[in-house]
Symmetry: D2
Subunit: 136 residues, 4 copies
């Protein structure tokens, strides 16, 4: 049974208010799943017979994987007040990257199962990130 983000966040020597710990844990899980989906989808696009038509999708997924990973790292370090406004801006950038990758993958989802799954992971991630952004 794997150690979860929720367990790690609950073991931090700081206390977050209200529903924030639960939202951060859910965001970290969704960001992790989206990093995996986008990295794999970009690699799959490049292994298809015609990667040329998927070039924009590769770029959007690579951006999204980079930003999701960085956002998760920031959220996992206890969010002191001095870091909160940067955290909010990173989250907003991450939501933008998820939107772009979801839209790009949706264009190919009838053709490629990895694009359909990746669009789904991006949409789940941006939904949770929007909830967290509203609560921060």
């Amino acid at each position: 049974m794997a150690v979860t983000a929720q367990q790690m966040l609950m073991a931090q020597p700081v206390e977050l208010d209200g529903e924030l710990p639960d939202l951060v844990a859910r965001a970290v899980e969704a960001l992790g799943a989206c990093t995996v989906a986008c990295t794999s989808c970009a690699g799959s696009c490049l292994a298809e017979k015609d990667p040329g038509s998927l070039a924009d999708c590769v770029v959007a997924c690579t951006d999204c994987a980079d930003l999701c990973a960085t956002t998760a790292r920031m959220l996992l370090r206890p969010l002191a007040n001095t870091r909160r406004s940067t955290g909010v801006t990173v989250l907003a950038a991450c939501i933008g990257a998820c939107e772009t990758a979801a839209a790009e993958c949706a264009r190919h989802e009838l053709m490629h199962r990895h694009c359909r799954l990746c669009a789904e992971a991006c949409r789940e991630c941006l939904q949770v990130c929007r909830e967290l952004l509203a609560a921060l």
Copy 2:
């Protein structure tokens, strides 16, 4: 229900032999959990009342988080033959980083719950990575 590494790997337009796909999926999941645990543990150590005694633990966890994240990215891109030997070496380096972080965290696990959980995540990760390494 989150999109999983297993689903993404099964949607890749390449076929891996035998038990390899399953092992890669399990490794990606364990590497992701270990990245989260190590990033959070390093942040928690720095938020403790006496971070001075935990400095080596922060460094070991940060190394480990960096290497686990990079290893997962490499494994998620379809492993062509030209990349296999580098993949094997990265996996070996990652196992080394997990061993160091597990040992460092184990020294503090009676004192800090985040170190106990993180040591557990590192041990799970290095176990799965060793199985994958043996199969590659």
Copy 3:
């Protein structure tokens, strides 16, 4: 003689308008220098005799290194219009992280030469990033 960001950007099969290519090249160089400075400064803080007093500095530098590296990666992929607004938000987040790290390091710059150098690298980086943000 090392290959530079300027050379790589000039070899891209896209054309950027006006002064933008030059600004992007300078930003990528400054972001790279700041990533190095912040990673090294965080490591140095943890190797000092009293890392406890430098814990906030380690966190600020680690955030900053993560964001500078991610921002440079985004800027190095040709900036299509669909990615521009996310690029702008990432740049804004990166400037925030540089400000926090510069302020944190400035508090210790009389004591630790690595903090003085790192504060300088952060200030140079945020200056160039602000110029680029104004031009995007």
Copy 4:
């Protein structure tokens, strides 16, 4: 005038023996230049008219950028003895990734200037990394 890796390494509160500090500084610079070159080259390949023929190059460059960035981060944190063997293995993996990317880019260097520059950056990087590996 940008802050350099050499300056940051000389400001670390640890002493490295003999020529090691100079070699580490040169490696960090070369790894940074190679990260930039590989990230930009992968993005340029995807922006070419026929990205299909460059798909393997994109994957090799992306692997290489990831590993160079991670290796630089590990080298920038003071190399305690407990971390040395992992550092050596990471460096070996990084050299492998540089070799693969240099070979892949060399196949396209008459056609694409970004591939020629990137192959050059990879070769410089693996040369310096081999010198450092021999000294560790």
